[in-house]
Amino acid sequence: MFHLLHPFYLLGLFLTSVPLILHLLGRRRIKERPFSSLFLLKEIKKSSSIWMRIKDLILLLLRIFFILFIVIGFSHPLVLSPVPFLGKEAPKDVAILIDVSMSMGAEGVFEKAKQEVKEVFGRLGSGNSILLIAFSDRIEEEREIIDEAELNSFLDHLKVTFRSTDMLPPLDVAKKELLKREGFSKEIFIVSDFQKSALKNIQSIYSNLRKKKINVYASCIEGSRKNIFFTGFQIEPPFPLPGLRLKIFPELISNEKGSIPVELFMGGVMKGIKKTEERKDVFFEIEPGKAGYKSGFFRTKGDSLTLDNNYYFSFYVPENLNILLVGKGTEYFYLANALSPGIKTPIKLTTIEPVKLSRINPSQYNLLILYNIKFDGYVKARTMDFLRNGGGVLFVMGNEFLSEVNKNILEEIHIVKKNDSKKGFFSIKTVDTGFKPLSDFKDKGLKNLYDTKFFQYFTIKSNMKAVIQGRNGDPMMLAGNINGGEFVLFPFAFNPEWTQLPLKAIFVPLVYRLTFYLAARQEKLPENQVGEPIKISVSKKVKQPLFILPDGKKKSPTFSTTGDDYILKDTELPGIYKFIPQLGETISIAVNVKEEESRLDVATFEELEFLFPDINKSEKREGFATSGKRWIDLFPFFIILSLLFLTAELVLENK
């Protein structure tokens, strides 16, 4: 292969015409000189004239080639030339990537990984400069290793992080570094447990590596996959209030069967310990105490990966629940009655006529309930604003909603997929679901209404359109989203029996529960994960904002003017981060490890082979290149050649 480093120098090839032009001009301009007698010259000329012409021609060629070689030399021609190594392995460029993401912290896995790195290093032989990259979802450390001592020192201080896995950054760095180097073969060794979640984004870079003739070898580090980890938590009621006992439900997964111990810690004290099995609800009952941020963590044990055994949570307990009820006349009497179950319950219910909604900004309320009123004009505008800002709205629909005016609007809001109902689209006017849910509850009696079974039956599914379904699959209650806000359509007038619903005892707990569910929309804290920044939105800039990290260190956040957010960039540890906007005020933010990292859902080598053709096991690296090709710059060769031609020209010229 041939390649020019500076091809524009070839423009100088025009200079080769200079000697030719001078030669032609020189022939015409031979000086005439009188000489005494030509008889001697004539004798010699007979033998020398042919030589003279040949000499002229040779001189011309020497001059042309002199310039030609100079020009080619300066354009730096590169040739791919084979270089033999006489039985020794040709120098190669190698990068070893070692995974230090949290999943590598499973029992014995990281030690195995370190040992594998040492073995790979040993198999490569001496004399190679090897790039070692420790990675999680980013490059944790990168170092050039030459000998075993350096390798051991590097591995000794290497630790598993709480971060997740992303192979794209280390592969990208390794590719760029290897391509810069001049070895005869390029190889990347990946030492990892190869979690499936980390393999999604690397197919394109892998094919790019193969195109660049970089071989990729995999060392799949296996270990125990027994892991118990938390995926979240729920509180019941979802809108906590001072004085209301709270149930905290940890959501957990175990990939091994058996009893799982769960402990709850709040305020540095263990609040309880329970044993459960996977997919079985377990909860702790607590007194939330005064209004404010509450935080703590669940802990489990007995699995192989301990780094995710703590699950941190925090939630906010407001002083009370503010509800704005918009209705006409006395129709909402039952509803208002349902929302005021007792004097101690800190629910503030404000009831207004629809006309007054034009004068009230509902943003100060936790929940907006529209009771059987026309959904148009300013009612619609206010409600949509409220939804867009993340508020919860309960539409309690009676006869008023059946008017022709509202029909289209409602259809617009509550989109129910056909598949959600056996009878197709939910028709507001004529649907008769044949649903008899009330009879079921009647049989169970009122005392069971607060029972957990009741709520299991009426599971409010936040990500589903049909909130309540009958046993035959008919949707009874629908939920939808508009921006951050959630609404629930409660069309009690669809069914003659439902029309009487407010009169029935079941209506009270149902509305009560819906109220708390929808009100919680605004109050829920964002879930934060290790490696991701924490954003705290503030209404105005504070003087000396400060974060206290889980390890007690303090750090000042940066302020983003675009969203009026305080941002803490580095979240290396899981735990409770405390933001202190001003003295005496603390916002608790729980940060947990990424769930995907806890799943220990690893790919086998066969799966890797399927995803990445040509990938090889590290130990299958056989043989070695005893010769290779290298780009050689022919600049010196051409310059020497041109000098030789110049010397020859000078010698011949003076002969």
Binding site: E32, I44, S48, M52, E653
Partner: protein, 301 residues
């Protein structure tokens, strides 16, 4: 000779003498310079007419010792004579085009002109008869030999008008001259000898055959020997106007060999034919030529 200024020696240099005007002055200067240089040489005063005594020096022939003076003074004195002869010398000058060649300084013909003038002066001073023959393709002019006092003016006038031109036909001219010169004498040839080699030798041998003494001044320019030209050149023959393109550097070595061979051949063959040969370059001081004349003259005595 005592009164002669020693600075005359510089007039033996062709470059210096070429700056002087008037051939008679040139002739005089060259000869005076030559004689000053010759003052202590063995060539001095081989005249037959007694001129003075001088102290004996080793090398002087015993026959010139004045025994009478020895008897009176007990010292050896030798007699110094002024030469008196009836020698006829013919100065034959090649005035062909090629003699006009000059590379630097004076041309071959100018060199020869000054040398001939000096020789004429010297010969006439020694009471010899001097004749002058100029030739190129044929005999261009002939001045009969004479030893009269005003003959020098005639010769110098003739030499003064000398201009190069015409082709050389040396052999033919020499054959013609050989017929013309009846009485034996001294033939002095000034030429670059650029002619057919065999013919030249053959013609000069005829002079020898007729008992003439022959002295050849083979005169060449330094450029004709060294061929110092560098770039390609179109050489034009000064006699025939023929042209030829030559790469001087390419043929220099061969040219030099050839010209040296030619000179050596002339030297050898002239020697074999008992012809005195003196090779002169136009930058050779004149005393060298004059010395060879004196050596020749001595042989003839």
């Amino acid at each position: 000779m005592r009164g002669i200024d020693k600075s005359y020696i510089r007039y033996l240099d062709p470059k210096v003498i070429s700056k002087i005007k008037g051939l008679d002055l040139i002739a005089r200067m060259v000869v005076e310079g030559f004689l000053v240089g010759l003052h202590r040489s063995p060539y001095h005063g081989f005249s037959v007419e007694f001129a003075e005594h001088r102290e004996y020096r080793p090398g002087d022939e015993l026959r010139y010792v004045d025994w009478k003076v020895f008897g009176k003074t007990d010292r050896y004195y030798v007699k110094v004579f002024e030469e008196e002869t009836n020698l006829k010398a013919y100065l034959i000058i090649d005035k062909s085009g090629s003699m006009g060649f000059r590379s630097n300084g004076i041309s071959k013909l100018e060199y020869v002109k000054y040398l001939a003038s000096a020789l004429s002066f010297l010969l006439l001073r020694q009471k010899d008869a001097v004749g002058l023959l100029l030739f190129s393709k044929g005999l261009d002019s002939y001045t009969a030999p004479s030893s009269r006092k005003n003959h020098l003016n005639i010769l110098l006038k003739e030499l003064d008008q000398l201009k190069p031109g015409g082709e050389t036909s040396l052999a033919n001219v020499l054959f013609e001259l050989a017929e013309k010169i009846k009485r034996r004498g001294l033939i002095i040839l000034f030429s670059d000898l650029f002619d057919d080699y065999e013919s030249v030798i053959k013609a000069l041998k005829i002079f020898r055959h007729k008992k003439n003494e022959v002295l050849v001044f083979h005169t060449l320019d330094s450029a004709e020997i060294l061929f110092p030209f560098s770039r390609d050149m179109l050489f034009r023959d000064m006699e025939t106007n023929e042209k030829i393109t030559v790469d001087p550097k390419g043929i220099r070595k061969e040219y030099r060999e050839k010209i040296n061979n030619l000179i050596n051949s002339y030297k050898r063959d002239f020697w074999n034919a008992s012809i005195d040969y003196q090779f002169l370059r136009t930058d050779t001081p004149y005393d060298k030529a004059l010395l060879s004349y004196l050596a020749k003259r001595k042989k003839m005595r």
